[in-house]
C-alpha cells in the first residue's frame, strides 16, 4: 500500500505536525517543474510529429519559364498529369492571386493589388502531395516526379518541403527529448529528497526507534510508521505543485488558443499528454512511498 494504514495510537510515536519541514515545499517545487517540463516535452513532441506528417510528402514545383503563357500552360499540364499519377495524393496549382496576397504581406500592398507587385515576374507554383509509404518509397516517388517535371517543364525546380523544414522538426524533437531528460532528472532529485528526508527522520527519532526495537517492534512496523508520514508529507507537496503547475498550464493554454498561425498552431497536449500529466503526480506519490520504504528498511537493517 502506498500510504500504509497505521493505528492512530502508533501514529503518535512521531510527534511533529505535518508540513513542519522543508520536504513538502521542495517536493512541491520539483513537482511543478516536472509537470511543466513534461507538458513542454509532450507539446513539442506532438508539434514535431505534426510538422513531420505535414511536410513529409509535400513538394512544390517552381516553374520559371520566361514566357508567361508557356509557364501557365506548363503549370496546368503538370497539375493535370501529376494528379493522374498513382503515387500522387493531390496536386494543386497555387493561383497567382494567392501568390500576390502572400507577397503583399512582405512587400506592402494589402490584397496584392499594388501595381509594382503585380508587375513582378512570379514563377508558377504547383503543390504536390506524394502518396503514403515508407521513406524509401517516398524517395522513389520523388525521383519519378522529378522525371515527370523535367518532361513537362524543363528547368523547373522541385522543392521537397522536408528538406527545409526537417531541421526545424529535428530541433523541436531535440527540445522535447531535453524536456524528457529534465523530467527524469527532477524525478531523481525528488527521490533524493525523499531519501534524505527518510534518513533525517531516522536520525531525529533514533532514540524512539531504538526503544521500539528493544520492546519487539519489527522493521516493518517501524517502516510503516515513517513511510506513512513521508508519503503523506510528500503527497501534500505533490498536490501543491500539481495545483500550481495546472494553473500555469491552463494560463498558457488560454493564451495559446489565440495562436493560429505557423508552427505554434501545431503544439497541443492531446488526450495522451493530459493523461500523462494526470498520472505523473500519482506515480510520484508511489515512487516517494517506495523510495522511503526501501531507504528505511535498508537503514534499519544496520541496527541490531
Amino acid at each position: 500500500m502506498i500510504i500504509p494504514r497505521v493505528p492512530v495510537q502508533h501514529r503518535r510515536l512521531l510527534p511533529e505536525p505535518r508540513l513542519s519541514g522543508p520536504t513538502p515545499w521542495v517536493i512541491a517545487i520539483l513537482m511543478m517543474l516536472t509537470l511543466l517540463s513534461a507538458a513542454a516535452g509532450v507539446g513539442l513532441a506532438r508539434s514535431a510529429d505534426a510538422i513531420g506528417q505535414a511536410i513529409a510528402g509535400r513538394v512544390t514545383v517552381q516553374i520559371v519559364t520566361a514566357n508567361p503563357v508557356t509557364r501557365s500552360e506548363q503549370a496546368a499540364e503538370l497539375r493535370r498529369t501529376a494528379a493522374a499519377e498513382p503515387y500522387v495524393r493531390a496536386a494543386r496549382r497555387v493561383e497567382r492571386d494567392e501568390l500576390l496576397a502572400t507577397l503583399g504581406q512582405w512587400l506592402g500592398g494589402a490584397g496584392g493589388d499594388d501595381p509594382v507587385l503585380k508587375s513582378l515576374p512570379l514563377p508558377a507554383l504547383v503543390d504536390i502531395d506524394l502518396g503514403g509509404g515508407e521513406s524509401g518509397d517516398r524517395a522513389r516517388q520523388l525521383d519519378r516526379l522529378k522525371t515527370l517535371v523535367e518532361r513537362i517543364a524543363p528547368g523547373a525546380r522541385v522543392i521537397p518541403h522536408a528538406e527545409w523544414l526537417a531541421p526545424v522538426a529535428r530541433l523541436i524533437r531535440s527540445l522535447a527529448w531535453i524536456a524528457g531528460g529534465l523530467v527524469l532528472l527532477m524525478v531523481l532529485a525528488s527521490a533524493a529528497v525523499v531519501i534524505m528526508t527518510a534518513r533525517a527522520a531516522l536520525g531525529t527519532h533514533y532514540a524512539t526507534i531504538e526503544m521500539l526495537h528493544l520492546i519487539g517492534a519489527t522493521d516493518r512496523q517501524i517502516t510503516r510508521l515513517f513511510q506513512r508520514r513521508i508519503a503523506i508529507d510528500t503527497a501534500y507537496g505533490i498536490a501543491l505543485g500539481t495545483i500550481v503547475a495546472a494553473a500555469i498550464l491552463l494560463l498558457i493554454g488560454w493564451q495559446w488558443s489565440d495562436v493560429t498561425s505557423g508552427l505554434a498552431a501545431t503544439a497541443s497536449l492531446g488526450t495522451g499528454g493530459w493523461a500523462l500529466l494526470l498520472a505523473l503526480p500519482l506515480l510520484a506519490i508511489a515512487l516517494a512511498a517506495l523510495t522511503a520504504r526501501q531507504t528505511l528498511l535498508a537503514a534499519l537493517k544496520k541496527i541490531l
Partner: protein, 269 residues
C-alpha cells in the same frame, strides 16, 4: 493487576484474545523454546569489545535457570550494563556463545529478534521513556507493538497505572514527571506484557525506600509466576530482601564464580 491466561497450547490470551505470548507461542514451538530442564539463558566464554579497544567483558560463562532471581553487582565500569545489553538483545557478543530461550543469538536471523525481544522486559537505567507520549501510552507501548487491541489493553494499563500510584498522572508527559515517577512508568512498561525474562538496570535508583520495596515486590510476584529476573544494583539492602536470589558479581569485565554455581547450577527440584 490482570494477568494473561495461558492455554494448553503454549499460547497466552488477554481477555480471550491471542496476546503477545500467542505470537511468541509460534517461536516457542520446536527448537525455539528452552530445552526441557535447560537454562533460559546460557553464556559460554562470551567476550565483548566495542571497536578496536580491549574487551569490556571477557570469558563470561553462566546459565540462568527459568524462574530464578538474580542480582548482578559490581563496581561502576565493571561491565554490568554491557552484560545486560546482551541479555536484552541490544548487543551481539564479539566472541563466545549466547543462547536465549534455547536459541544461539549469534546464529539467530535478525528478523527473528523482535519475537524474542517481546519475551524480555527491560528497565533501563535512564528510563528511555518516549518523551512525547503520556505515561499511559508509554506503559501501553509493548502491548500495542505486540498487536493487542485498544479495547484489550485499557484494563491492564489502567491497573498498572493504579498499582504504581500514577493513575492521576496517566496523561502526563515524562518531562513533567519526577525521576521516581519516570522510573515507575519505565518499570510498568517493562512488566506489563509479563515477560519471561525481566532485566532491570538499577531499577530502584530513583525511588524512595517504600516504592523500592513495592517494585521489588512486583519483581518477586512476577518471579513467582515464572519470570526469570535479573536485577543490576548496588543496593545491598535490596539484595538482602530476596531469599532465594542468586548473586552474579562482575569484576573488571569478568564474572566472579568461584564455586562454579553460575556456570553449572544445581538442578532445582
Amino acid at each position: 493487576m490482570q494477568q494473561p491466561e495461558h492455554d494448553g497450547g503454549g499460547h497466552t490470551h488477554f481477555r480471550g484474545k491471542t496476546h503477545l505470548y500467542g505470537r511468541i507461542g509460534d517461536v516457542m514451538t520446536g527448537a525455539a523454546g528452552p530445552r526441557a530442564g535447560g537454562a533460559m539463558v546460557e553464556f559460554d566464554s562470551v567476550g565483548l569489545r566495542y571497536g578496536p579497544d580491549g574487551e569490556v567483558l571477557s570469558d563470561i560463562s553462566f546459565n540462568l535457570q527459568p524462574g530464578s532471581f538474580y542480582f548482578l553487582t559490581g563496581a561502576s565500569g565493571a561491565g554490568k550494563t554491557s552484560l545486560l545489553k546482551m541479555l536484552y538483545l541490544a548487543q551481539r557478543p564479539s566472541r563466545g556463545i549466547v543462547r536465549l530461550f534455547g536459541e544461539d543469538l549469534g546464529a539467530m536471523a535478525r528478523h527473528r529478534l523482535p519475537g524474542f525481544r517481546r519475551r524480555i522486559g527491560v528497565v533501563f537505567q535512564d528510563f528511555r521513556l518516549i518523551p512525547h507520549l503520556s505515561a499511559r501510552d508509554n506503559i501501553a507501548l509493548p502491548l500495542r507493538i505486540a498487536g493487542v487491541g485498544e479495547e484489550d489493553l485499557a484494563g491492564p494499563v489502567g491497573e498498572m497505572l493504579s498499582w504504581i500510584g500514577l493513575d492521576a498522572r496517566a496523561e502526563a508527559r515524562p518531562a513533567t514527571l519526577s525521576g521516581g515517577e519516570q522510573q515507575r512508568v519505565a518499570i510498568a512498561r517493562a512488566v506489563i506484557a509479563r515477560p519471561q525474562l525481566l532485566v532491570a538496570d538499577e531499577p530502584t535508583g530513583n525511588v524512595d525506600p517504600e516504592m523500592a520495596m513495592r517494585l521489588l515486590g512486583l519483581f518477586e510476584a512476577l518471579n513467582r509466576l515464572g519470570t526469570t529476573v535479573v536485577v543490576a544494583t548496588h543496593d545491598i539492602h535490596l539484595i538482602s530482601r530476596i531469599d532465594n536470589a542468586q548473586m552474579m558479581r562482575l569484576e573488571k569485565g569478568r564474572l566472579s564464580d568461584p564455586t562454579g554455581a553460575l556456570r553449572y547450577p544445581p538442578n532445582r527440584s
